[in-house]
Symmetry: C2
Subunit: 358 residues, 2 copies
């Protein structure tokens, strides 16, 4: 039973390895051997703050070809501050030391034994990036070389890494409402990816001439506008609402991460907190109905949905919500590397198994 830190994950798991592990897992999911459990989000009161709620989430999945099952647990205090009439959802770092709580446990599908426990932050960022990267592999033009990133945060950098892992990039163009952040991010991208990166003062300028546009923001308002759509572009989004519905309507080929994962069946909300539920991110545009019937990334990878068909096709990938088997797939890759590198702390294995069964 191995404990791995976020630093371990950062040192061990690279974007290319993560994308490869996902390609295998999506193919296995398409053929029905890899599966996701039903995810569940539980929302209750917390006495911490009248305007906050407690959120306990679980997702799980198994990739038997990699001999790994995974469960991810998030335990968050959510608050809902209102700024200038708009309500944001904020994860409060309420754990001791001002910290957050997300954990992944990996299990052997051969013996049942727990193999590892780790915080989810670094792997989660890598997961979101690798998912976008896998979609780019199938949907962007083969010669796509210019990427625009809208956003400069935690997720944006993984999006840049993912695009660079699957296409021969020559330039990364960045826009963030905070130009200093955009410039710092550009410098970081240049160093990490050894690619020219430039911060722009307006999103239009960043998007202009880009073959691929990746939205990676915290915005609940559309950041990619309808008028920026042009033939041959690939547009990606990691959050419902980032892309203007008008732009979505112009797309020839939309793929979603998993249509079965886009509803709200997973949500169980304690009585009296229904008003908080209404504040979660939901794209209420009626055109979402069409998107819900779009093919999944598993169908795309498995060959049942069309990859890019022409140089002019407008493609779009909506990368919403994690899937349990992603944590199993990335976890298997991570574990192999941790063992090879001798990284992580061993916990007493007997602590996490037992001589009785229930």
């Amino acid at each position: 039973m191995l404990y791995l830190s976020n630093d371990d994950v950062d040192a061990l798991l690279d974007m290319t390895g993560c994308i490869e592990s996902f390609e295998h897992a999506y193919r296995a999911a398409f053929d029905g051997s890899a599966i996701n459990g039903r995810r569940s989000d539980m929302i209750t009161a917390t006495t911490r703050d009248d305007n906050a709620v407690y959120s306990l989430k679980m997702v799980g999945g198994v990739v038997p070809g990699s001999q790994i099952g995974a469960v991810r647990i998030n335990s968050d205090i959510l608050s809902f501050p209102t700024d200038e009439g708009r309500t944001r959802k904020v994860k409060v770092p309420a754990a001791p030391g001002g910290r957050w709580v997300g954990l992944i446990m990996l299990f052997s599908s051969e013996t049942g034994e727990p193999l590892a426990i780790l915080p989810d932050g670094v792997l989660q960022r890598m997961r979101v990036g690798a998912t976008s990267g896998l979609a780019i592999r199938y949907l962007a033009r083969a010669e796509a070389s210019t990427v625009a990133i809208l956003g400069s945060g935690w997720q944006a950098s993984a999006q840049a890494m993912a695009a660079a892992a699957v296409r021969p990039l020559s330039e990364i163009r960045i826009f963030s409402p905070n130009h200093d952040n955009a410039r710092a991010f550009a410098g970081d991208v240049e160093r990490r990816l050894e690619l020219p990166a430039k911060a722009f003062q307006s999103p239009e300028d960043a998007v202009l001439g880009a073959d691929i546009v990746l939205c990676a923001t915290n915005s609940l308002q559309a950041v990619f506008k309808e008028e920026w759509v042009k033939p041959g572009i690939h547009i990606g989004s990691i959050r419902d609402g980032e892309i203007d519905p008008g732009a979505l309507l112009k797309a020839d080929n939309i793929v979603v991460h998993d249509p079965g994962n886009m509803g709200s069946d997973h949500l169980v909300v304690a009585k009296g907190l229904d008003h908080k539920e209404g504040r979660k991110e939901v794209n209420s545009d009626p055109r979402l109905a069409a998107i819900a019937s779009a093919p999944s990334l598993a169908a795309l990878v498995g060959g049942a949905a069309s990859a890019r068909r022409s140089a002019d096709e407008i493609t779009c990938f909506l990368n919403f919500h994690g899937l349990g088997y992603q944590f199993a797939a990335a976890g298997a890759a991570l574990l192999a590397r941790a063992r090879a590198a001798g990284r992580g702390h061993q916990l007493p294995a007997d602590w996490f198994t037992q001589n009785v069964h229930s």
Copy 2:
């Protein structure tokens, strides 16, 4: 972050404390403040054995009044041996050292932080017993003094403890197909509960004259027969199929643990394993339809379903499947005692929280 062993749980958590914690939790569930997540069972192939499958289960729940959220994970290799034409489901102790894997994690609903991790075996047995005990408190005659237990295994002893915790017992009557097991169990019950306990050669003899009959077997065939039903009896069962459907039809007042928990929506089975799914315990009797509309234990505790109405009423409690908030409730009681007693191993808290969020 506390690690507790099964020995710690055994030393710390008593049946009376567990029943009290449940009574509070069911009341909170009835008023809507405590909730269960959607449970999920994932079944895939395992290369261990062609006739075996891998099963990864997750359940979760939150009792905000106790400031605890809980997730329980079971990671099992299941095999399906056939003896004399009948197929049994066996949990294979496939983890190193011939061990099984079930874990509970407890989280603070005030800070989100993980508070404890522990194997689930001892708590699970206590949980099943305490659930039956809570039902006995509401459904058995107040002066019930004689209990028959059908079964002599791991769960049977918790059923005896539970009945003794809520009724002034004078005698425990035991039947098991293996009489040596029944006698050993009787001796154990006498020592533990300081009550007369007797092993019988036939189930009829054990049941004869008992005010309460508790079935706690691994049998997939009915062990409690229709002709043993008599006025005023309370019948309990921990497994679908233990009670003859004819006996269920004679009951005046049936309460189930949670009707929402009795379907198979939670089951996700990898392609090609459907034949294994068919082998799980399912009561296919058409009369199950009526049982599925029976009130829940939460409704009983909350006052929306009738407790015993007369000395002659025939009552029945079907204690199938765990509920996530039970692990939170028992976990809160356990944690309070572990802290008071200074038991368990402290793990580095920072390992299980993080300075990033996802």
